[in-house]
């Protein structure tokens, strides 16, 4: 028999204080002055409750790069960040392009137990962009894959992309595109602009992202399928997605926390901690992303949590790996960039970090409202807390967070996965 939890005085989505009773995996009761015999009481005075967060874009690195992250450590980081479900990207070694690999990742997630893991299947065999992987086998496997992506690489071949979009309709899947025209970004290192020219770092033009997004929106419309655009990073991309949505096309998009906060100016340090794909862009792009996320053009925030071992970041910029950690800081950055700026409220956060990503991933039991009878996937969050990011006390195996030394608001106090705490008092339960 599992312990019941009585959460006292919590403000659901920032509303009036109330109590929540979490029992038998569901939200059993909501209301002021609840009591329950034998329930563990959690004093949530000053805290807000959000539905368990869902990440559409996580790199857990297992199998293959267990020196960077494992399913166990990555999902610990996820739980500490308030996530109850993550989508594990397919660019592992071996690539998650068969039912066998996705089932392995799914099973590792269940064994770890910190957070549900939903594997993303590769679109093409080995991420090579040459022929389709067995998408149906992955969809029918125990992992029930619905999101397919070659993330890290772009499905740049237009015919292959068209076929993938068509094929996944058979099982209500979605193709999540890493939009990066490969020829325009050969050896590219940072956002192309005045600064890349001055720093002598090969430029990564916005058009390399925008051209692929435009093409894919048109393809998705043409074959009447579902497209999800990963890590939108430019103002132009936001415009294209806005246009596609205005046509009624089935296109969704995500933005990453780092693209909502950091700009390409940081490349002037030549510190590869700021090297990421897609690259950090200009302040104007950051503003456009925030506006797009606020008005619903960009549907969700996804972390693109990308752990790398220290030696792959403690080197020349050009030699360094792309990517940054994100799970443990995502909610704080969304608070800082979107909530504290007045662009969205906590209801808006719940939509962009829980309801909508779960809907895009076709998850059941996640992204549900905090209502009686719903699964007890709940985050308790203290928005009044502030702390300077330390970087040495992360659950992730890797240390490549770009936020060390920055003061960020908010703290995840507790995370409940189907009524069981994965995090309590800000620590793994």
């Amino acid at each position: 028999m599992t312990t019941a939890y009585l959460v006292k005085g919590v403000r659901v989505l920032g509303g009036e204080p109330t109590d929540l009773l979490l029992e038998d995996g569901v939200i059993a009761a909501i209301g002021a002055g609840l009591s329950a015999d034998g329930a563990e009481v959690v004093d949530a005075d000053g805290l807000i409750a959000l539905p368990g967060l869902v990440d559409l874009h996580t790199h857990l690195r297992e199998p293959g790069r267990e020196d960077a992250e494992t399913v166990d450590t990555g999902t610990q980081a996820a739980a500490l960040g308030g996530f109850t479900a993550v989508h594990a990207m397919a660019n592992t070694d071996p690539v998650a392009d068969t039912a066998g690999v996705v089932e392995q990742v799914w099973r590792l997630g269940r064994e770890a137990g910190h957070c549900d893991v939903f594997p993303v299947g590769a679109v093409t065999v080995g991420l090579q962009g040459e022929r389709l992987a067995e998408l149906g086998a992955m969809a029918d496997s125990a992992a029930r894959v619905r999101v397919f992506s070659d993330d890290g690489k772009c499905v740049s071949d237009a015919v292959l992309m068209r076929r993938a979009l068509e094929y996944v309709k058979a099982f209500d899947g979605v193709v999540a595109q890493h939009a990066q025209e490969p020829r325009l970004t050969e050896d590219a290192q940072m956002n192309e602009g005045e600064l890349s020219g001055r720093l002598g770092l090969r430029g990564w033009p916005a058009v390399a992202e925008e051209a692929v997004i435009a093409r894919d929106c048109l393809l998705a419309a043409h074959v009447d399928s579902r497209l999800h655009v990963c890590h939108v990073s430019t103002a132009g991309s936001v415009e294209i997605v806005r246009w596609a949505k205005s046509k009624g096309w089935n296109v969704t998009a995500e933005a990453c926390p780092h693209h909502l906060l950091l700009t390409d100016e940081l490349a002037a340090t030549y510190d590869p901690i700021y090297k990421v794909n897609p690259p950090l862009r200009s302040a104007a792009d950051v503003e456009a992303l925030r506006a797009g996320l606020a008005d619903g053009t960009i549907d969700v925030v996804a972390t693109d949590h990308a752990p790398h071992p220290h030696e792959d970041k403690d080197c020349e910029w050009q030699a360094a790996a792309f990517g940054m950690l994100g799970l443990e800081t995502a909610l704080s950055i969304v608070q800082q960039t979107m909530v504290d700026t007045g662009l969205i409220d906590w209801q808006g956060v719940a939509e962009r970090m829980s309801y909508t990503p779960a809907r895009i991933g076709r998850l059941e039991g996640h992204g549900r409202p905090i209502e009686v009878g719903e699964p007890a996937n709940v985050v308790l969050y203290d928005p009044a807390h502030t702390a300077v990011v330390d970087g040495t006390n992360l659950a992730s195996l890797s240390r490549n967070t770009p936020y060390v030394g920055r003061e960020l608001p908010g703290r995840v106090v507790a995370t409940f996965l189907r009524g069981t705490p994965t995090v309590l008092d800000g620590k793994l339960a």
């Binding site: 290192q189 192309e192 602009g193 005045e194 600064l195 890349s196 020219g197 001055r198 720093l199 002598g200 770092l201 090969r202 430029g203 033009p205 340090t269 030549y270 510190d271 030696e311 403690d314 080197c315 020349e316 910029w317 050009q318 030699a319």
Partner: protein, 317 residues
């Protein structure tokens, strides 16, 4: 002066003039029978080269030796694909050996910046060319050469012609020459000018013939033939016709105008043989000046506030 020389943009006008004046004093040494000063005796200068560059390395080596420094040449050639020992470990090794200055040439833009700022070592770092970023001592020797021929550079017009996009020489020269008051025009086909160059505070032109008659200095940059394979220009012949400096174009220059090239030249591509060998060409002199300027840089970074060269009594250090 700062402790490192990473970018020509780090130099104030006073810094740059001090280097040029010091170089002028040190250059006189080249005419003496014994070309050696004791200024850096007991100091260790490491030439750390991750990319082949015989001329830059021997220039730094000669500079350090003429100041009596101990010189260690460390060739760690490698690319991002065939990475050997990491920059960090190399740096820690040199630190453990007691290097006072590290002269670094690297294929990655920003590598000297990393060496200077990552906390791996306490040595002074001199950027001897990093990726497509900067080559500040080349800019200093170029400015020194111009200064010796033209005097004060205020208002002087310098045309830098060729593959600006991939040129660390162009970047450092643009920064330093602005500091010294010169007016810089970058001349290249549009494909070989960096995006955002309008923010560099220099003029740009696609038309070499229009720029040449007004120039006091024409600096030709090396253009790799392989660039045409990436569609930067259609053919070598077309490049030469539009942007090469040949005898016909040389005839449109003012009488006092000098022609420079950082080397190695590709005769027949960006510069014709008759121009390279003409009386306007100061290309060989640039090499001589390179040693003097690098002596000045090493001396000022490592050395003292005392004059580098004594007066009529000879060297007093």
């Amino acid at each position: 002066m700062k402790r490192h020389l990473l970018s020509a943009g780090d130099l104030t006008r006073a810094d740059a003039e001090l280097i040029l004046e010091t170089a002028e004093e040190l250059r006189s040494l080249a005419d003496r029978p014994i070309k050696k000063l004791p200024a850096l005796r007991g100091r260790t200068v490491v030439n750390l080269f991750f990319e082949d560059s015989t001329r830059t390395r021997i220039s730094f080596e000669a500079a350090a030796k003429r100041l009596s420094a101990d010189v260690i040449n460390f060739s760690a050639k490698g690319s991002s694909l065939s990475k050997g020992e990491s920059l960090k470990d190399t740096s820690l090794t040199l630190e453990a050996m007691g290097a006072d200055a590290v002269v670094v040439r690297h294929w990655a833009s920003g590598a000297p910046h990393l060496l200077a700022n990552a906390g791996w070592s306490k040595s002074s770092v001199v950027n001897a060319g990093d990726g497509t970023h900067e080559h500040p001592t080349q800019a200093l020797l170029d400015a020194f050469t111009m200064w010796r021929h033209l005097g004060n550079l205020d208002g002087r017009r310098v045309a830098i012609v060729g593959d600006v996009l991939h040129s660390r020489v162009a970047r450092s020269n643009a920064l330093l020459l602005k500091t010294l008051g010169a007016e810089v025009t970058l001349v290249a086909p549009p494909t070989l000018l960096p995006v955002g160059v309008e923010g560099w505070d220099v003029e740009t032109s696609y038309d070499l013939d229009a720029v040449l008659p007004k120039a006091d200095v024409v600096m030709m940059l090396r253009v790799q033939r392989e660039r045409m394979n990436a569609a930067f220009f259609p053919t070598v012949r077309e490049y030469s016709r539009r942007y090469g400096l040949d005898g016909r174009r040389m005839d449109t220059l003012q009488d006092h105008t000098i022609v420079m090239h950082p080397g190695p030249m590709i005769r027949g591509m960006e510069i014709s043989a008759d121009v390279a060998d003409s009386h306007r060409s100061v290309i060989v002199e640039q090499v001589t000046n390179g040693v003097a300027v690098r002596m000045a840089v090493l001396y000022l970074l490592l050395g003292g506030s005392e004059p580098a060269v004594g007066t009529s009594e000879g060297a007093n250090l």
